[in-house]
């Protein structure tokens, strides 16, 4: 342990901890901007400076390792004046149109400006000097350079967590800015729309393209029938924006709120998550049969999941040679959209042109996915608007609802029923677990051999996890799988995904099935989820997801009565003709920059 003294208080921390960590331990708050728990240290904003006895200048507490005997003062004239100067300098470069800003009230710079009461503008306004631009090219992410404080959190997120590097630093001096390859619009570069940069941007420089007004317009349009689907991770995240602590399960209140907002039908993406399991599970078994029984060399294994649109765009850019390995299944959002304007329309006797299909997602890449030109198999745009968990929270506030006091309500029927297997889609490893629960049982007639159906090896937050499950004594249809060890891997965050796929590419691993989620933690840590995010928060959200799974009466996708019904009534069978038409898709190779 290292012993130091901060503001006259003795404190001990483990070796390798910083002065900032030590200060936190004794509840001394040091302001930070470039620091983020998920990212490597930058030490570039300098707002966390403190005074160290004997040191020439001030030190950046986020970047300074604690050493034995250090004497630190966090509140001296020099410290206070310097911090205030730094905040004022940042404000002089910053387009402080706070009342018009999407991040008004949740901006870290605004909070500091308020704390330090930087009322009178001391320095010259540099905003006028710059040719700041707003990049509105992406359907998911809006980048406004005039709000940027160059903390590089987004750059580190994109490089360190996601291995995408769509965002990078360009130029130097006063011209220094966060840019993309040759300053091309975000929509033309390798950006996967994952939105992790948004989750870590301290200001309004990176925000989601919001569709709040579009959705309100649809709701108020009497000629439209507006259906909303809600993704699994929304129900364990939404509460954070509306007064609950991280990890609160607010499914019933969310449904109640959506009904109060005026949606005609409140349905569940989890229904199509279950459907995805039926389709994707069958696809996997079919690929295995072709490979193992028919000896078909053209079968592509391992098969990877396709529910994460950030992952799909990543593989299109980074590993186009593996596009045939990606499951052809559309994501649950898009399956839902295609069915909303076909099956649902038929059953409800509605003209699909009058249906507006809205999704609420923990994700910003879902906006891009909804806009993909191939996502129109219903004859219409399958999903009209994808809004984030954060956008929904704004709508709930706008409607004046006291969310915490709402009575729980239930999803409407017809595409509203789901299972625990669908809930866990929201956590990394969840799709794998749900698929194994169903596939194993389909093949052997027995439940997966894990206590309470909880397949622990695929859970948790290790970057890449592996599991294998031996198939013994299968039912007659699947005799060829007898003795086969089904090898699976799970990765979350695109850096881990890249590592896993590189090992597959180099022939170093021979999996049958791989689940990949673009975001750290899976959808629960999605780019559309409440801000802030860190490991502690993601742990709590994951715990909530698994609690929700345990609380549901049905926990296997193939036992969802509405799923059984839709196959009998409409789709026929998994991978059948109708499924192919509505529920499956294809991918395109994209450029590497």
């Amino acid at each position: 342990m290292i012993n130091l003294n901060i503001d006259g208080i003795d404190v001990s921390v483990e070796e390798g901890k910083t002065v900032l960590d030590a200060a936190k331990k004794i509840n001394v708050k040091i302001p930070t901007l470039c620091f983020h728990e998920d990212l490597c240290i930058a030490g570039n904003c300098r707002v966390c400076v403190v005074e160290q006895e004997g040191a020439k200048g001030l030190i950046a507490s986020c970047a300074m390792p604690a050493h034995e005997g250090m004497k630190i003062n966090t509140n001296t004239l020099k410290v206070r004046r310097s911090r205030k100067h730094i905040i004022e300098l940042l404000l002089s470069e910053h387009n402080a149109d706070c009342t018009k800003c999407y991040k008004n009230g949740s901006c870290e710079l605004q909070e500091l400006a308020n704390e330090y009461r930087t009322g009178n503008q001391v320095f010259l306004d540099l905003v006028q000097e710059k040719n700041y631009t707003i990049d509105q090219s992406s359907p998911s992410i809006m980048k406004d350079d005039s709000k940027c404080i160059r903390c590089q959190r987004c750059v580190r997120t994109c490089e360190q967590l996601q291995a995408v590097s769509a965002l990078a630093v360009a130029n130097k001096g006063g011209e220094m800015k966060i840019s993309s390859f040759f300053d091309k619009p975000l929509h033309e570069v390798v950006c996967t729309n994952c939105g992790q940069c948004i989750n870590r941007c301290p200001t309004g420089a990176l925000i989601e393209v919001n569709n709040i007004e579009d959705v309100w317009d649809a709701i108020y349009d009497e000629n439209k029938h507006v259906v909303i689907q809600t993704a699994p991770a929304v129900r364990i995240g939404l509460g954070e924006e509306l007064g609950f602590n991280p990890g609160a399960r607010v499914t019933g209140k969310m449904v109640a709120a959506l009904k109060r907002l005026g949606f005609n039908s409140v349905l569940d993406t989890q229904f199509t998550a279950d459907l995805t399991i039926m389709e994707e599970g069958t696809e996997l078994l079919t690929r295995l049969k072709k490979a193992l029984v028919d000896g078909d060399k053209s079968v592509h294994l391992p098969m990877t999941t396709s529910c994460s649109p950030g992952w799909v765009k990543f593989i299109e850019h980074t590993f186009p040679e593996f596009l045939d390995n990606v499951s052809t299944c559309k994501s649950p959002q898009q399956m839902f959209g295609a069915l909303a304007k076909t099956y649902y329309a038929q059953k409800r006797n509605l003209d699909p042109k009058d249906i507006v299909s809205v999704s609420v997602m923990p994700c910003t890449a879902k906006k891009f996915e909804a806009d993909r030109p191939e996502m129109t198999d219903s004859g219409y745009k399958d999903v009209d608007y994808a809004i984030t968990t954060r956008e929904l929270a704004i709508m709930i506030k706008q409607a004046g609802l006291d969310f915490m006091e709402l009575e729980d309500n239930e999803f409407d029927s017809l595409m509203g029923d789901s299972t625990g297997a669908a809930t866990i889609f929201g956590a990394t490893g969840g799709v794998m677990e749900a698929a194994l629960r169903t596939a194993y049982e389909l093949v052997t007639g027995r439940e997966v051999p894990f206590e309470n159906l909880n397949i622990q090896p695929v859970r948790g937050f290790a970057g890449v996890r592996e599991a294998s499950i031996k198939i013994e004594d299968p039912v007659d249809d699947w005799k060829f799988l007898d003795g086969v060890e089904l090898r699976c891997a799970v990765a979350h965050g695109l850096r881990n995904a890249k590592e896993l796929m590189t090992s597959v590419k180099n022939g170093k691993s021979n999996y049958h099935f791989i689940e990949i989620m673009a975001c750290p933690g899976g959808c629960l840590g999605g780019g559309g989820q409440p801000i802030p995010t860190n490991q502690e928060i993601r742990d709590k959200r994951a715990a909530a997801i698994y609690e929700e799974d345990m609380s549901l009466p049905i926990r296997k996708s193939h036992e969802n009565p509405e799923i059984i019904h839709i196959y009998n009534d409409f789709l026929g069978e998994p991978l059948g003709h109708k499924s192919h038409e509505l529920l499956h898709t294809k991918y395109v190779k994209r450029e590497r920059y």
Binding site: I41, A42, G43, N44, C45, R46, V47, V49, G57, L58, A60, A63, M64, P65, K78, R81, S82, H85, I86, L89, L90, S92, E93, V122, F123, L124, L126, E129, I149, R150, Q152, V169, N171, K172, G173, G174, E175, M176
Partner: protein
């Protein structure tokens, strides 16, 4: 009263060595501890400007546990007004290589690098030829060491040691957080000695001649001699090796044009000394330190133009990563312009001086920290020129 020396020309750096093989061979035969002790005894401090004791640098690096260590010659000579490293590399490159080889032996490096300023690419072919000869010499002497030349791309910041490592590693040239220092975590994260061109030549000389001769020159705080790049309003601009510890008065008598108003010591990152302070200002670490740049200004020069030029330089050459330097430099530049135009009151200069104080205290590297030096010394001493 600090010890003062009279101006004295010295000839160490550029002396031709007729038997360089013997010089190097003798230096390499001394034990590592002996060499480090000589460097420590000599009082040699880095000649790039910051003045860190060279012996300590070598000692710390040698002490680190590591599978690999490097020695790097910082030839990214970018400080406005210095051009002495260019001359050293042009005239006596083998001495620089020799200093690196001795350093490599002491710290246990197998690879060394010369990071050559992008604008000095014209030296490259000749340097490479001489380097090939030098490698043959090393083979004869049995030292397993190779030097590679890497060129910069024109950014001033890459002369900052940790930004230089980043640049060499193929990354954007941005200074790192310190600690850890290069002696622990340098190029490729390995213990690294990084020395200025001139420092390496003095190190070789000290290895050969011992500490005493070097130590007999200069003052307590500033031992030895130093190569100066002298420019501006002087009838005899050029490169001079002088004993450290002379006063500016002494210096101006020799190099001034009879009308010297001020001398900028240490380049844009250094200090401006006005005529009234010449008498009491020593050129050296106890007074005004310099990496070699000495710019003389006579009464025909506007000090507003001088500081404006420096600020334009800093505003452009800041890497832009840390707030105080990136935004501070812009504010200073536009701020002096606004005062000059009359858009801001004279008292705004005081706000700017406070800002430079913050930059000095909080900037991440020497670039941002040293903007205060020229700004405060020019604005304080020539306030009327800032306004009228």
């Amino acid at each position: 009263m600090a010890e003062k020396k009279q101006l004295k020309r010295v000839d160490i750096i550029f002396t031709e060595e007729c038997n360089f093989k013997q010089v190097l061979s003798e230096a390499l035969q001394r034990s590592d501890d002996e060499i480090i002790q000589s460097l420590l005894d000599s009082g040699l401090r880095g000649r790039g400007g910051a003045g860190f004791p060279t012996g300590m640098k070598w000692k710390f690096t040698a002490q680190e546990e590591a599978d690999e260590r490097f020695i790097i010659c910082n030839a990214d000579e970018g400080e406005p007004g210095t051009f002495k490293d260019r001359e050293i590399l042009f005239k006596v490159p083998y001495k620089v290589f020799g200093g690196m080889a001795v350093g490599a032996k002491v710290i246990g490096a197998k690879e060394g690098y010369i990071y050559l300023r992008g604008e000095y690419k014209f030296l490259l072919d000749d340097l490479q030829k001489q380097l090939d000869d030098f490698h043959k010499l090393l083979d004869e002497l049995g030292l397993d060491f190779r030097i590679h030349i890497v060129t910069g791309a024109g950014a001033y910041i890459c002369g900052e040691e940790s930004a230089l490592f980043e640049s060499m590693e193929g990354k954007r040239g941005e200074p790192r957080n310190k600690p850890p220092y290069p002696t622990i975590n340098g190029y490729k994260g390995k213990p690294t000695v990084i020395n200025n061109v001139e420092t390496l030549v003095y190190a070789l000389t000290i290895c050969r001649l011992g500490a005493e001769r070097f130590k007999s020159l200069g003052t307590n705080d500033s031992r030895g001699s130093k190569v100066f790049s002298i420019s501006g309003d002087t009838p005899i601009p050029g490169i001079y090796e002088l004993e450290l510890g002379m006063t500016l008065e002494n210096f101006v008598e020799e190099f001034g044009d009879g009308d010297t108003k001020s001398v900028q010591v240490g380049g844009a990152a250094g200090f401006c000394v006005p005529r009234k302070d010449f008498k009491d200002t020593i050129i050296g670490f106890e007074g005004v330190p310099t990496g070699g740049s000495m710019m003389l200004f006579n009464s025909s020069r506007s000090m507003y133009n001088v500081i404006h030029n420096y600020l334009e330089f800093f505003e452009e050459e800041s890497c832009g990563q840390c707030t105080p330097c990136r935004v501070g430099c812009q504010q200073l530049l536009l701020g002096v312009e606004a005062v000059k135009r009359g858009d801001k009151p004279i008292s705004y200069l005081d706000e700017l001086l406070k800002l430079t104080e913050t930059m000095k205290l909080t900037a991440k590297c020497g670039l941002g920290q040293s903007v205060a030096n020229s700004f405060a010394s020019i604005v304080d001493n020539f306030k009327e020129e800032m306004i009228y």
